[in-house]
């Protein structure tokens, strides 16, 4: 398993300044104890919080921003039978592409080499002007 290098191709794709909804979203989730994962409209990772670090097995400072193609594979999501979950079936990708919330149960292989059983909700972020600004995944370990 490879930890993506920081400052990947995701950096130049980012806007000069994030939309206020994303700025406030990042601020909010950085204060919450619920694991959350924030992406831009394309699905590139912008940020995940400390609670998410515990589930993903790696600190955000170590991964930095990741392209959608990177994060959707790097945690090796599988179903209960061990079959890989395709990126387009991940709740966050559904939220982004279909503009609706989506839920799923899955197993991920964290970058600390631990496999975890999690539930995930993906939510599209739509601004007051109706603009699609990105998405938010909320997830937690299944006891």
């Amino acid at each position: 398993m490879t930890i993506p290098e920081r400052n990947s191709e995701a950096e130049p794709r980012l806007n000069p300044q994030m939309a206020i909804e994303l700025i406030l979203g990042r601020q909010l989730i950085s204060y919450l104890g619920v694991p959350m994962f924030l992406v831009d409209p394309r699905g590139d990772l912008l940020y995940y919080n400390e609670a998410a670090e515990a589930v993903l097995g790696i600190r955000f400072e170590e991964t930095g921003r990741m392209l959608r193609e990177e994060w959707s594979h790097v945690f090796s999501p599988t179903d209960a039978d061990g079959n890989p979950i395709e990126p387009e079936d991940l709740p966050l990708v559904i939220a982004l592409e279909q503009g609706r919330p989506a839920w799923s149960e899955m197993y991920i292989h964290g970058l600390d080499e631990s496999t975890r059983h999690i539930e995930v909700i993906g939510i599209p972020i739509i601004g007051l002007a109706g603009k699609h600004l990105g998405g938010l995944a909320i997830f937690w370990e299944v006891e």
Partner: protein, 272 residues
């Protein structure tokens, strides 16, 4: 606040109580020149009362020859007309917005940009409670950024940190004039975090980070006296020795002239 360009376009920034005097000063049909004589554009950053309460007393709204464009923050919940009508209708105001004789056109921002005369205006949502935008006004003579209610330091541990993650940066970047919320002192801000306003120290830091050339301290705390403002500014500037950003305090009737990027700041008028 009134912004004019030599081609005659007139922008009015927000519609507080000062807009009544502006309306009275404009003669019907001649606020501008060069074919824009009957048009006024009012840019509303948000719909808090102190930003709209003068609207009903703006006399051009009662002139059937006038075309008034009102630009305000978009909402997916209710259209701008409906939200403005909550104030411009009984029992809060005797006249319905729809009954005003001028031709009123409402525009959602930041969905639409505005180009009028030599002005090109863009906007973006910024950090302040409720839907609030800031404006960036560009012309061949320079750039004005207007962020009268703004708290870019909210929840940011290392403010001023990464510009990409700072509210208002794209609007203020490289502005010749940055008109910015400066309601509190640093001490006052500590007990008003999240109220949507900034301390003077934060404004100066934001201006420097944004590469703004001149910052106008605006949206003073209503209880502030003139001398107190000067003193607070002197203290804040003393702490920022060596900064390239120049600073002035907004005052009623004070004027600023921007010509080919060169700024002339008018004196603070004496109030009789």
């Amino acid at each position: 606040m009134e912004v004019r360009c030599d081609s005659g376009a007139l922008l009015v920034l927000d519609a507080g109580t000062g807009i009544r005097r502006l309306g009275a000063a404009l003669k019907s049909g001649s606020p501008c020149e060069n074919g824009l004589a009957n048009r006024i554009d009012i840019l509303l950053t948000h719909l808090h009362m102190d930003h709209i309460q003068g609207l009903g007393f703006f006399t051009p709204l009662y002139d059937s020859e006038m075309e008034i464009h009102i630009w305000g923050p978009a909402s997916t919940a209710r259209p701008l007309r409906q939200r403005l009508s909550r104030y411009l209708s009984p029992p809060l105001f005797p006249v319905h917005l729809r009954s005003l004789p001028s031709r009123i056109l409402l525009h959602d921002v930041p969905r639409e940009d505005l180009t009028v005369g030599n002005f090109h205006v863009t906007s973006a949502f910024v950090c302040h409670p409720g839907a609030t935008v800031g404006f960036r006004i560009e012309s061949p003579d320079g750039v004005i950024a207007y962020l009268p209610d703004h708290e870019p330091a909210l929840g940011v541990a290392d403010f001023p940190g990464d510009p990409n993650w700072t509210s208002g940066y794209s609007l203020a970047h490289g502005a010749d004039i940055l008109i910015h919320d400066a309601q509190y002192t640093a001490k006052e801000y500590a007990s008003h975090v999240g109220w949507g306003h900034s301390s003077i120290d934060q404004v100066l830091a934001f201006a420097e980070m944004s590469g703004a050339k001149h910052v106008v301290l605006f949206h003073h705390d209503p209880v502030r006296e003139d001398l107190e403002l000067e003193q607070i500014l002197a203290e804040a500037l003393a702490k920022r020795d060596g900064s390239a950003v120049t600073v002035s305090v907004a005052a009623e009737e004070r004027s600023y002239r921007l010509e080919k990027g060169r700024l002339t700041v008018g004196p603070v008028p004496t109030v009789a």
